[in-house]
């Protein structure tokens, strides 16, 4: 099986390298803890092409977050290499290539929702007028118009999560990395935001890395689905989606959709010990 994956990966690389935005080669990351080393990532190789929408799915603790953090130079791999736009992840970060949505909202409590969204704009030196215009636009996008002056703790968890998404969308990062952005939301809101995200992606051509626990979500959104397995964290399957880029919600009832979902589920199940 490992053989197969490697084959597939290398095959895949050949196709995608031309426009590869993110290239991971034999990436490993080991945390040293009191209980001994934890191999969060081991020999992970993956190419992400420009404009791709890549989902990461896998059991809790398999290293999805860690992988995303490596891409954004928030974690330093203990082995292998990762390049972004042909330079190191650190250089890409300094060039402000990333918009990152964390697993938890992580808004600053002393800033209003508007202030939080304005934060990256201030840091990157956008003009005041531009700031105001952008804040208004992304608030609209995540259905939070009218909440600009509220403080984070005055909003429900789901609203906070949406604000943090807006924050990442406010500036023009080429690469959007989202770590379970819709975890705290109910199915309806989730569907709605999924559609919005697809539309935004189609419009801007951003490259997106997206972590989720939901199989339908992964299949619905992605051009490429990366299934990961734990202990040590590695890639167990990479699925290139044959679905068209234009995706109405109903696409979820098509046989192709269901077939991909099945393949993802099988890959996922292999990572668990349950024998059913």
């Amino acid at each position: 099986m490992e053989q197969m994956i490697n084959n597939q990966l290398s095959l895949h690389s050949d196709v995608a390298t031309a426009a590869a935005v993110i290239q991971a080669q034999n990436l490993s990351l080991t945390f040293q803890t009191n209980d001994g080393p934890v191999h969060a990532l081991k020999d992970v190789s993956l190419d992400i092409g420009k404009g791709e929408f890549v989902s990461f799915i896998g059991p809790s603790g398999c290293g999805k977050t860690t992988f995303l953090r490596c891409m954004a130079d928030l974690e330093h791999p203990t082995g292998g290499s990762i390049t972004v736009n042909g330079v190191s992840a650190a250089e890409a970060r300094k060039a402000r290539a990333y918009g990152y949505v964390f697993q938890a909202a992580g808004l600053y409590p002393w800033r209003t929702i508007g202030g939080n969204i304005r934060l990256p704009l201030e840091i990157m030196g956008y003009s005041k007028a531009d700031q105001a215009e952008r804040v208004a636009r992304v608030l609209e996008l995540v259905d939070l118009a009218g909440f600009e002056k509220k403080y984070p703790w005055q909003l429900s968890g789901g609203m906070q999560q949406r604000a943090s998404i807006a924050r990442a969308l406010a500036f023009d990062a080429d690469i959007l990395l989202m770590d379970e952005p819709f975890g705290a939301l109910d199915e309806i809101v989730r569907d709605h935001l999924n559609e919005q995200l697809l539309a935004l992606w189609a419009r801007t051509g951003k490259t997106i890395g997206f972590v989720t626990h939901s199989i339908p979500e992964a299949v619905y959104l992605s051009t490429k689905i990366v299934v990961m397995s734990p202990r040590p964290g590695r890639i167990s399957d990479v699925i290139d989606s044959p679905l068209p880029r234009e995706r109405p919600l109903e696409i979820r009832d098509t046989p192709e959709f269901i077939e991909i979902a099945h393949r993802v589920r099988d890959g996922l199940r292999a990572g668990h010990s349950y024998d059913d």
């Binding site: 953090r69 954004a72 130079d73 928030l74 970060r93 300094k94 060039a95 402000r96 990333y98 918009g99 990152y100 964390f102 938890a104 992580g106 600053y108 409590p109 002393w110 934060l119 990256p120 201030e122 840091i123 990157m124 403080y151 703790w153 005055q154």
Partner: protein
């Protein structure tokens, strides 16, 4: 969950308690015939306050305004600045912090005479003692505050590739405010005590510490208590002021908002 107590309760209860203590005190002093040289009755203390408002005012200006507040401001700024430096340069953190720890352990009773020797009798030496006393609480609390951001908050700044100054001004200082105010609350009371104690080791012929130490020798215990009352009142007001500013600055902190 718990209902917020009304302002009446919040002020009335402690005030009532204080009054009760005063009344009991007055009665006990009368009943047991305690000589005023040991413990004057509250009525006598009040008489002393009324009689000596001019002196109390002069003392207050000398000790609080010139000594304590100057020292508090200088010491707080110095502690804050040192914290920023230590935070910026890891070398200093590992080197200076243990030493600062040691300096903080120097007892005021020993420091005060040295400061009087170095800076003279007037308020400058008192301010110097206060600086030494408040420097450390501010330093430690600021450092703790600067470290109080969580990883995700810092990582966010990293993804923006924010500069050290930007991270400081937009993330770490706001996050540090609750801690800094804790340090200020401690410092506000320490400053008063420091300025008063320092006057024991040499002073001009005015100041709260001067008055207290002199009047004990003259058996003017009512005057001693008058100064104690002024000191307590000043300290409480100073503390309350810090709390008010804290409320205003750290409105967002969970401890400042009940419910949501």
């Amino acid at each position: 969950m718990m209902r917020q107590p009304s302002v009446v309760m919040r002020i009335g209860l402690p005030l009532g308690f204080g009054l009760l203590v005063l009344i009991l005190w007055e009665l006990l002093v009368g009943a047991f015939n305690i000589p005023p040289a040991i413990l004057p009755a509250p009525s006598e203390i009040w008489a002393a306050i009324e009689r000596s408002t001019a002196i109390l005012w002069v003392d207050w200006v000398q000790t609080v305004v010139k000594g304590a507040l100057t020292g508090l401001v200088i010491g707080s700024l110095a502690g804050f600045g040192a914290a920023l430096a230590i935070d910026r340069v890891d070398f200093l953190r590992r080197g200076l912090l243990p030493v600062a720890n040691f300096v903080a352990a120097l007892p005021i009773v020993g420091v005060a005479p040295i400061m009087v020797m170095w800076f003279g009798f007037d308020w400058q030496s008192k301010a110097a003692v206060v600086v030494v006393m408040v420097f450390f609480p501010i330093l430690v609390n600021t450092l703790a505050g600067l470290a109080a951001t969580d990883r995700m908050q810092r990582d966010l700044m990293r993804t923006y590739s924010a500069s050290h100054a930007q991270t400081l001004s937009k993330l770490r200082l706001p996050a540090a405010m609750p801690f800094i105010f804790n340090g200020l609350k401690i410092s506000a009371t320490l400053a008063l005590i420091g300025a008063i104690v320092a006057e024991y080791f040499g002073s001009p012929t005015k100041g709260m510490g001067f008055r207290i130490s002199t009047e004990v020798g003259r058996l003017g215990i009512d005057m001693v208590w008058a100064e104690i009352a002024v000191s307590a009142l000043t300290g409480t007001v100073l503390y309350g002021l810090v709390v008010l500013i804290e409320r205003w600055v750290t409105f967002w902190h969970p401890s400042q908002r009940r419910g949501r």
